[in-house]
């Protein structure tokens, strides 16, 4: 049973790392965007293997929706019909490496510190969705509401920016 879960886990983790590598090293903006989709799909698969199907489907829904918007921009920027297309190159290598390594160290240290034996194992047939709903509106109500307010502000902000017209462009 353990082996049955471990084999797909390593396959999907490997694929996720492979796609992430493509994002890092490709010169083509759109290849990067499509690889991002691949990475997100693999991470969703890992969530499924961890029996967190709600998180997995949310991953599909939210990130894929976001990715589609990103792709549109990719398409607009690298339109091959009118020009050669934008070739990306890497900037701030030194700073990026420092941030990546420090983040890795923090996470790695944190994961090593977790006592996995103390984490309660939950039965697989538990109703995930109900539990998430109840927890969101009791235990995590404040963060949930704050997230909602932040999203509302972002929505208002984006509509204000897109609706803003200067005198010259106004017809």
């Amino acid at each position: 049973m353990v082996v049955l879960i471990e084999i797909p886990f390593y396959i999907f983790s490997g694929l996720a790392i492979l796609f992430a590598g493509v994002i890092l090293f490709t010169k083509n903006l759109l290849y990067g965007a499509f690889s991002l989709v691949g990475t997100f799909l693999c991470v969703a698969a890992i969530y499924v293997l961890a029996q967190a199907e709600f998180v997995a489907v949310t991953q599909l829904m939210v990130y894929v929706g976001g990715i589609v918007v990103l792709l549109i921009f990719g398409v607009m920027l690298t339109n091959k019909i009118t020009d050669k297309g934008i070739i990306t190159s890497s900037y701030n290598r030194f700073l990026g490496a420092i941030i990546a390594i420090s983040l890795f160290v923090v996470l790695f240290y944190g994961i090593l510190k977790i006592n996995f034996g103390a984490v309660k194992g939950q039965s697989a047939d538990m109703n995930n969705v109900n539990q998430i709903g109840v927890e969101l509106l009791t235990e995590y109500l404040l963060p949930f509401e704050i997230a909602a307010v932040v999203l509302l502000i972002a929505l208002i902000g984006s509509s204000v920016i897109s609706g803003y017209k200067t005198k010259e462009t106004d017809e």
Binding site: V57, L60, M61, V68, L71, I72, V75, K80, N127, N128
Partner: protein
């Protein structure tokens, strides 16, 4: 397992027959015969076309992005096909047993765009690119009312499991949940035993009928069907995102398009029109609903529920075809204003009423 064993062969057979139906229906609407030569009444015309398509050369344009161009049709079909994994086949044979079936299907419906954008961009053709851009804009806009309309049903059913939603809408709900006429407990008429169309979601909670219409319109847009077929508008964009494709890959794209039609039809039937439950009610000692539903797990139960589910889904596909050949295509700005200015506010309003209605039910 239902996906490979049942839906793959069923989808292939469906695509062949649906394309034939599409041509015949369009012919009848335009007062002509349609295909008549191959087989009796032209029924083998699609098979002949398919044989021709599979023999065609698989052309990749020189200036196209070869890798993405080759992957894209497979990706489009895979995403659509993945959606069938959670669709139940009969009352005793559900799809993948996940609790978030509806949520998963909503995600799948939007995943399809990625393949379409990939196909459009990789073709390196301005018509393909326009088709892909339109498709993305369209699916993002119509996802909002689609999700809101599905949310109304989820709020009434209190579950995301497709099989659970199905059970609630028929005589098998006895002992699990009490259904009242029009969902109003104050009326005091218990229709759980009666079953039939009275316990379907559109009758159980009549406000869901408006939701169903919104769902139907948005599902047309999500599956790129007329009057929302702007991504492949043949009179302006040649064939949209699939202009450069030929042979097997083109037929995969067509298969995915018809698969999408079938998938949203299944979803609509399961959410609104009683899923695999019989439309015939029990009238006194004439147990029509019991006779035409069968017990869960028995042979008659499997046969009846599969029959009702598939028959209803095919009827919905027929309505989609009928709509396509009746209405003209709408303009891109009209498409946007229909989605954002009309469907989204109506869907929000209906969601509110559905929430209030839910209080009448308990």
């Amino acid at each position: 397992m239902s996906t490979i064993l049942f839906f793959l062969p069923f989808l292939l057979l469906f695509a062949v027959l649906a394309i034939y139906a599409e041509r015949k229906v369009s012919a009848f609407i335009q007062d002509r015969y349609g295909p008549m030569e191959v087989g009796y009444y032209g029924i083998l015309q699609t098979v002949a076309d398919l044989v021709k398509l599979l023999q065609k050369e698989d052309i990749v344009p020189t200036k196209a992005d070869r890798k993405l161009f080759l992957i894209a049709p497979i990706l489009v079909f895979t995403f659509v096909f993945a959606g069938f994994a959670v669709v139940p086949v009969t009352s005793g044979w559900e799809g993948a047993p996940i609790q978030t079936g509806v949520f998963f299907l909503l995600a799948i419906v939007s995943l399809d765009t990625i393949g379409i954008i990939m196909a459009g961009w990789a073709s390196n053709n301005k018509y393909s690119l326009f088709g892909a851009m339109r498709s993305a804009a369209q699916i993002i806009s119509y996802e909002v009312p689609l999700t809101l309309s599905v949310l109304s049903v989820v709020m009434i059913s209190q579950t995301l499991d497709l099989q659970q939603i199905s059970i609630q809408q028929g005589v098998h709900a006895v002992g699990q949940e009490t259904n009242y006429l029009f969902g109003i407990k104050a009326l005091g008429i218990d229709v759980t035993e009666i079953g039939g169309f009275l316990t379907w979601n559109v009758f159980r909670v009549p406000i869901l009928f408006i939701t169903w219409i919104i769902f139907f319109i948005t599902s047309l847009a999500e599956s790129n069907r007329a009057p929302f077929d702007l991504p492949e508008a043949e009179s302006e964009l040649v064939a949209g995102f699939q202009t450069e494709y030929s042979g097997f890959r083109w037929s995969l794209l067509m298969l995915a398009e018809y698969g999408m039609m079938l998938l949203v039809s299944f979803l609509g039937v399961i959410l609104f029109l009683g899923s695999w439950n019989s439309p015939l009610p029990n009238i006194g000692s004439v147990r029509l609903a019991d006779w035409t539903t069968g017990e869960i797990g028995t042979l008659s139960g499997h046969l009846w529920s599969a029959f009702w589910l598939i028959a209803k889904a095919l009827l919905m596909v027929l309505i989609q075809i009928w709509v396509r050949w009746t209405y003209p295509r709408i303009r891109i700005d009209q498409l946007m204003s229909v989605g954002w200015k009309y469907l989204t506010p109506i869907a929000l309003f209906v969601l509110l009423i559905a929430a209030v209605w839910r209080l009448f039910m308990i």
